[in-house]
């Protein structure tokens, strides 16, 4: 029998004390460091830059937000949201066959292959992944070489001539940016979709067939609706991550900026922290709305 154990005794007498001790350190950290910072961000967005001194004026004002509505800044917002939407839709389309196969058909060894096959790129260095695409899309890189060997160089030239989508080479075009985004965020879409597909009992698909539906109909009326929460969950990641990214468009992209780049630029050399903060608040608000809508659609069950 235990001889003297004053702390243990006290914890047994008051179970809530134990709970309190467990929860307080992480709560303190997250509360002060993280929530505190978010609050600081919000505060900064309501400050402004004194035009003459370049110093931050710590007084409440809406002037900084009004700057967001200037044409050049507003363009950045629209451009970013358009890209985020395109990436999300494409990711859903590309991820679906992979997720579907992994959920329904992969067994035993193949299940592990698919699991690791998605996990390893997911956890691989983000920067290395982006860098690899810079190599691939470069003018002298492998993609060009592929087109030339297949005698399809003219096709690539024609594509690059399209305004907005094209450019001097793929690595300085919106298409390039789009491809890299798609590549990097794809695992984030695959996982939730796979999770929600795995929740579909096979008997449901059999019942559908039993009631006379062709495979295409089963796909459209049974599988897709059930996979929808997973798709929405994945879209939360792809949308949010695209909106905030500043590295990918900087390395593979044109000189037209996205929100992330604007934030980075304004907090750095341009020395306009309040404006950077205001830009950063936009994705938060957008994601807040998106998340509320997604919660109503039941997407959080698939996380």
């Amino acid at each position: 029998m235990a001889s003297s154990a004053p702390i243990s005794d006290a914890l047994w007498r008051r179970p809530n004390l134990l709970l309190f001790l467990l929860v307080t350190p992480p709560l303190l950290w997250l509360g002060i460091v993280y929530l505190g910072s978010l609050f600081a961000l919000l505060a900064q967005s309501f400050f402004s830059i004194d035009e003459f001194s370049g110093l931050i004026n710590y007084e409440f004002t809406l002037k900084t937000y009004s700057e967001l509505l200037r044409a050049s800044n507003f363009d950045i917002l629209l451009r970013t949201i358009a890209m985020a939407s395109a990436v999300t839709i494409a990711a859903a389309i590309v991820a679906f066959p992979i997720a579907y196969y992994a959920a329904r058909y992969a067994t035993g060894r193949w299940k592990a292959v698919f699991y690791l096959g998605v996990m390893l790129p997911l956890w691989s260095s983000y920067l290395v992944k982006v860098y690899s695409w810079k190599l691939i899309l470069a003018k002298e890189g492998i993609l060009n070489w592929l087109f030339e060997t297949l005698h399809l160089a003219w096709l690539l030239e024609a594509y690059l001539a399209i305004p907005v989508l094209g450019g001097n080479s793929l690595s300085v075009s919106w298409t390039g940016t789009f491809l890299v985004f798609l590549y990097v965020w794809l695992p984030f879409m695959i996982l939730p979709v796979q999770a929600s597909l795995e929740r579909v009992p096979p008997s449901m698909l059999e019942a559908s067939g039993d009631l006379g539906a062709r495979p295409g109909q089963t796909l459209r009326h049974v599988i897709l609706p059930l996979a929808l929460p997973g798709i929405i969950a994945g879209s939360i990641f792809t949308f949010s991550l695209t909106m905030g990214d500043y590295i990918i468009p900087q390395i593979v992209g044109t000189s037209a900026r996205m929100i992330g780049q604007a934030v980075y630029q304004f907090q750095g050399t341009a020395g306009n922290l309040p404006l950077a903060a205001a830009f950063a608040v936009v994705p938060i608000v957008v994601m807040g709305i998106y998340l509320t809508l997604a919660k109503r659609a039941g997407a959080f069950n698939a996380l």
């Binding site: 702390i7 997250l30 910072s37 260095s125 920067l127 002298e140 990214d245």
Partner: protein, 267 residues
């Protein structure tokens, strides 16, 4: 219900998987190329000399050292805080439990740039200068959730009667922690720690906002991407980074395999 997938589906699935892996493998090839002014394909020749060049670059070593230091400290902090939080959430229902689960996930759910600029705003208002500790502050915060996920999943799988049995047989809280709880969650904690390490080692977005003048390895790489000095050196470093982070992830997978936990869903 088909027991075998159609050919089209199989091709799409495997093709998708290859799409995910080929770009990284490409970098490995580029690490050996003799061409150092451009990203020419196919590589004109293969050589090992860039490995030696990289070895002799002091800035690479410095950046590597900082990355390792930050990753180690952040991982330890995250392991402590993540486990404490997981223990509380998994064991009891209490007021605010849902909120805490959300709060833990937030640093990773919101884009890195938000976390980065928030921390920067806070440092500005509180007048805190940049240092290794400001980097660690950011890293530990988003690493908590990785450890938390693994720990919570394992706690939920550990029957609460084990703790009662231990106390019934005469063990105090400390003894129960040491002899029963720790052995049962050890592998999950380790897996979470490895993933947290990999995450911290690789992180660049939040770090850019919290590092000031210092360079972690990813920041070094970013610099090189924007203003390349010796491209193949970057390739070599990239290859090393992939290999270094590959190992903890594989280890984390094997540590939690055969348990129903999914090691670290979502970055």
């Amino acid at each position: 219900m088909h027991s075998k997938a159609s050919l089209g589906l199989r091709i799409a699935a495997i093709g998708g998987l290859l799409f995910l892996h080929l770009p990284i493998l490409l970098i490995f090839v580029y690490a050996f190329t003799t061409e150092d002014k451009s990203y020419q394909w196919p590589p004109p020749g293969l050589t090992l000399k860039w490995f030696e060049v990289t070895w002799n670059r002091p800035d690479v070593w410095e950046a590597l050292g900082l990355s390792l230091r930050v990753a180690c400290v952040s991982t330890v902090i995250a392991m402590v805080l993540g486990t404490l939080c997981a223990a509380a959430v998994a064991r009891s229902k209490f007021f605010g439990r849902e909120t805490i689960s959300l709060l833990v996930i937030l640093p990773i759910a919101l884009p890195g740039i938000i976390t980065g600029i928030s921390l920067r705003s806070a440092f500005n208002i509180a007048d805190i200068p940049f240092s290794t500790w400001t980097i660690i502050l950011g890293h530990a915060t988003f690493c908590i959730v990785v450890v938390y996920n693994n720990a919570v999943a394992r706690f939920r799988r550990t029957s609460s009667s084990l703790i009662e049995a231990s106390m019934d047989l005469g063990a105090t809280y400390w003894q129960t922690l040491r002899f029963v709880i720790m052995p049962n969650i050890a592998t999950a904690l380790l897996a979470g720690g490895m993933l947290a390490f990999a995450l911290s080692f690789d992180e660049v977005i939040v770090t850019t906002f919290t590092a000031g003048q210092q360079q972690t390895l990813p920041i070094w790489m970013l610099e090189e991407l924007v203003r390349p000095r010796q491209r193949p050196v970057t390739n070599v470093v990239a290859m090393v980074v992939v290999l270094v982070t590959f190992l903890p992830i594989l280890a984390a997978y094997y540590l939690t395999r055969g348990t129903e936990t999914v090691a670290g869903q979502g970055k």
